[in-house]
């Protein structure tokens, strides 16, 4: 049986108290003044739910210490930074706080030849190894979406999958209302990193059945399996409603395709309904889908993620009703990656204030494989709040949308990689 929110909240509160203790056990004895190797930490730390609830200043000290280490390693081992003129003057020791990230160059996938600005896509097409640290000997290159050209790889090791899987499982899925026992149907493409991580995270949580959609499964098979496995939770994509809802990401079946096949299966409104909770991603949750979920009584949450970094931010199902972090309003998940929302003023990165919309930059802090620093992934977001009734201490971002226009950054006069 699917546990309802109140029961799960009690379990989560218990976990939070336990995780706080274990968090301090790990970090209290560590010296944060030098660069700390994030990969040397116990794996479970990445699934520790205390990260989002802890004192922000202490979190900043811990993560900036790790960033110093990873930045130094990236500069030393990754061709993309070694070849960059902009990185010649970067000193990892200058990173004393996460706000110092704003001093680092912005990494661009697509440059602008007319302005003499280089991007890494054209180089990565010829030499995908430029995005892999030379100290990595075995990795899987997961491609980006490739909406604007040849996809670029993010090199991921098994350890990286374990790190991201833990963060997704405990810091996104648990507050999203997933729990052990009940079955989850994962409609994501199993060959994509997101699809594999959902499976990994669901296994960590201990789902009863983790049903994976095979690319050849049609809608009828999917609906039949939802019923036969008594699937209480689905993980599915939902492209923007302006597009053909048979989006590419999910291998052909979107949430609305499922709903359109049999609406009585979803929500709590109909007797005999099955699916009561849904994890849906794909840019933003469309507002009509949110309205629908409210009307049919289906819990809904989302997580920001990409092959380059996952998870980056998440909304919640658990928490007080007055919390801000619902639906498209997502708390930043700080570590193993870091999203920052910035504007560019006179060539300088300035953190976006509450209410401001800016460019989303991705920084990877804990990864064996590809390390991104201030990578302009092609999204914009608005800073919604810095405090929330749920108790998390990380900023909330929302209104996340795709603006894959490098000129916005280039014309801002910023320094580039």
């Amino acid at each position: 049986m699917l546990k309802e929110v109140d029961e799960l909240q009690q379990e989560f509160d218990l976990r939070l108290r336990r995780d706080k203790d274990s968090f301090h056990t790990v970090f209290d004895s560590l010296d944060l003044s030098n660069g700390m190797n994030p990969l040397a930490l116990p794996l479970d730390i990445w699934g520790n739910v205390y990260w989002e609830f802890m004192d922000a200043a202490l979190r900043d000290r811990i993560l900036s210490s790790m960033l110093r280490y990873s930045l130094a390693r990236g500069i030393k081992t990754m061709p993309v930074y070694q070849r960059s003129e902009a990185y010649a003057s970067v000193k990892p020791s200058d990173i004393q706080s996460l706000s110092d990230l704003n001093k680092l160059p912005v990494l661009l996938k697509d440059g602008d030849v007319s302005q003499g600005v280089d991007g890494f896509r054209k180089h990565a097409q010829l030499d995908p190894h430029m995005l892999r640290p030379v100290d990595v000997t075995s990795s899987v290159p997961y491609d980006s979406g490739g909406a604007k050209g040849m996809p670029t790889p993010t090199h991921i090791t098994p350890l990286d999958m374990e790190i991201e899987g833990r963060a997704l499982a405990y810091r996104c899925f648990l507050p999203g209302g997933l729990h052990s026992g009940v079955s989850l149907y994962n409609f994501y493409n199993p060959t994509h990193k997101g699809g594999r991580l959902i499976e990994e995270a669901a296994q960590l949580i201990g789902k009863n059945h983790i049903v994976m959609k095979r690319p050849e499964d049609d809608l009828a098979i999917c609906m039949a399996k939802i019923k036969v496995y008594d699937t209480r939770i689905v993980a599915a994509v939902q492209p923007p409603l302006t597009s053909d809802s048979n989006g590419k990401k999910g291998g052909g079946v979107s949430f609305l395709n499922l709903f359109g096949a049999d609406h009585t299966v979803f929500g709590r409104k109909h007797n005999g309904s099955i699916v009561h909770r849904a994890f849906i991603t794909g840019f933003q949750l469309p507002e009509p889908v949110i309205t629908l979920s409210q009307e049919i009584g289906m819990d809904l949450f989302t997580t920001w993620g990409a092959s380059e970094a996952l998870p980056g931010a998440t909304s919640t199902v658990l928490g007080p009703k007055t919390r801000t972090c619902q639906y498209n309003n997502q708390h930043l998940i700080m570590g193993p990656h870091l999203l920052s929302v910035v504007t560019i003023k006179d060539g300088v990165l300035v953190p976006a204030k509450v209410g401001e919309t800016g460019i989303v930059l991705v920084t990877t802090i804990a990864r064996q494989g590809t390390l991104f620093f201030n990578y302009a992934i092609g999204d914009k977001a608005t800073v919604i709040a810095t405090a929330c009734d749920c108790g998390r201490t990380t900023p909330i971002i929302g209104n996340i949308h795709r603006v894959d226009n490098p000129s916005e950054i280039i014309e801002g006069g910023c320094r580039f990689c």
């Binding site: 409603l241 302006t242 053909d244 809802s245 709903f259 359109g260 609406h263 009509p288 629908l292």
Partner: protein
């Protein structure tokens, strides 16, 4: 009046999950909100339709007849509803009332028509075709019509409220499940009739009506979803409408796929109805019937647009028609006034300019009408041309009848064929034939060769000594297409 800011899904008026847009009457200050449905609403409608199929399939022929009969009994359209239709279509209220009443008569007639034409046996639409039909072999046989598999998508135009009971009544009689997208210009009557039939017992979800703003590019995916998920599509509009619906483009406007080759498409593109006036007619009577067919409500596919007049009676006919038009022109005014005869036209200025241009360039002679607009209206036009390729024979200008003089009756038939060939589907919808012979039998006896030509004319309907608008639900119109389109025949050979 039902709430217009709703879709009709799963047997109930349902607010959209996706916002609304404003629709304004082109003729009066009247406006209302209509749902701007997204794929979420469409998914809901598709699911409800799928679920309704089983319940619809379990209905017997008699039960479906009973639903139509009950719907006809419950059929009541109040003044507010009539006013709404008038203000959105421009149709004078007098003719709204007439067309709405015709809708009721269609609903009550369809069961009997189906029984008569296609038969009723084994609780289904089944007709006995052969009984001991051969001397050599004893043969008996039936032909049954079973419901179409899948979901019907219907795109309905705004021009005539009678179309809605006509279409929905057929869908019910064939056990169809449909999602209807009415034109935003007049979206109400579809909801009204879908609810009426549902209230009368047709399963909830089997007739859904969904609205969206077709000028909103973000809603192209809704149309694409409906087209993709439907097995049968009824498109009551021309080829341009069909192309727009069946050719799918991506967000950047690039052609992605077409649905002409998928599912089944029934495209009603005929119009440009015509008349032939044979020599020796009672000209006064013919003028009366012509005016009825051409000017009462002029946005139907069966409205007479061109009349081929044989021989020397042209001047007398023009005189008689003009006399009647003078009377009609004296009754122009508000479309909500019960005495108004001439309705409003959305693009009145363009029509007047077109006609002015044709007259200026000697493509046509003006026999009646004033080349100026009166608000959204103008006096009815009576024109004459001798050119079969004139735009007057291709366009369907409201409140405009064009006379084309011809030497013989056979010339008239040839002219109908020639001008029909230039149309989208190569056929005119209806042709009225006015002749001094009382019946077609009489005509055949008098002119057997011309009758043969008449019966191969390029049109869907031939109205003998009747206005082209005088439809008879017992006879083939579009309904024959609908029957064959919406059902699968099954031949039963038994002994």
């Amino acid at each position: 009046m039902l709430a217009l800011n709703s879709n009709f899904i799963n047997g109930e008026l349902k607010k959209s999950f996706s916002g609304a847009f404003t629709v304004k009457s082109p003729f009066t200050p009247y406006s209302f909100e209509l749902p701007n449905s997204s794929s979420v609403d469409m998914s809901f409608a598709l699911s409800c339709a799928t679920k309704a199929r089983e319940r619809v399939a379990s209905l017997s022929f008699d039960e479906r007849c009973a639903i139509l009969t009950k719907a006809a009994e419950l059929y009541a359209v109040d003044d507010d509803e009539m006013h709404h239709i008038a203000q959105m279509t421009g149709m004078p209220i007098k003719y709204v009332r007439e067309r709405v009443n015709f809708g009721k008569s269609i609903l009550s007639s369809l069961p009997a028509m189906l029984r008569l034409r296609y038969g009723h046996k084994f609780d289904t639409i089944t007709r006995e075709l052969l009984r001991n039909g051969s001397d050599v072999l004893r043969v008996t046989g039936y032909e049954t019509h079973r419901a179409a598999d899948g979901i019907i998508a219907a795109f309905v135009p705004p021009n005539d409220p009678a179309e809605i009971p006509f279409l929905f009544g057929h869908i019910v009689m064939y056990g169809g499940v449909a999602i209807i997208k009415p034109s935003a210009t007049e979206p109400y009557f579809s909801m009204k009739i879908a609810k009426l039939l549902t209230d009368a017992g047709y399963p909830a979800g089997a007739l859904s009506v969904i609205h969206w703003d077709t000028s909103d590019a973000t809603r192209n995916s809704v149309r694409a979803e409906l087209v993709k998920c439907s097995s049968h599509r009824i498109i009551m509009g021309g080829k341009k409408t069909a192309d727009m619906l069946l050719k799918v483009t991506d967000d950047d406007g690039n052609f992605v796929e077409e649905h002409y080759s998928t599912g089944r498409n029934c495209i009603f593109s005929s119009g440009n109805s015509k008349a032939i006036v044979a020599e020796g007619c009672d000209v006064e009577l013919v003028a009366e019937l012509l005016v009825k067919g051409a000017y009462e409500w002029t946005r139907d596919c069966v409205t007479t647009k061109t009349v081929f007049v044989v021989g020397e009676q042209k001047h007398r006919l023009i005189h008689a028609v003009k006399k009647l038009l003078e009377e009609k022109s004296s009754r122009m005014g508000s479309i909500l006034d019960e005495h108004t005869e001439i309705g409003s036209v959305e693009d009145a200025q363009r029509v007047v300019q077109t006609i002015t241009g044709l007259i200026d360039f000697k493509y046509a002679t003006l026999h009646f009408g004033t080349l100026e607009c009166r608000g959204n209206s103008y006096t009815p036009f009576l024109l004459e041309t001798s050119q079969l390729h004139s735009p007057l024979l291709q366009q369907e200008l409201p409140y405009t009848l064009t006379i084309v003089p011809v030497a013989t009756f056979d010339d008239a038939i040839a002219a109908v064929n020639s001008s029909s060939q230039l149309l989208d589907d190569g056929m005119s919808m209806a042709v009225s034939v006015f002749s001094p012979h009382l019946t077609l039998d009489d005509f055949y006896r008098a002119m057997p060769e011309s009758t043969k030509k008449l019966l191969t004319m390029k049109c869907h309907m031939l109205m003998y000594n009747k206005p082209s608008t005088m439809l008879n639900v017992y006879l083939r119109h579009q309904d024959m297409l609908l029957t064959e389109f919406l059902t699968h025949p099954l031949s039963i050979n038994h002994d």
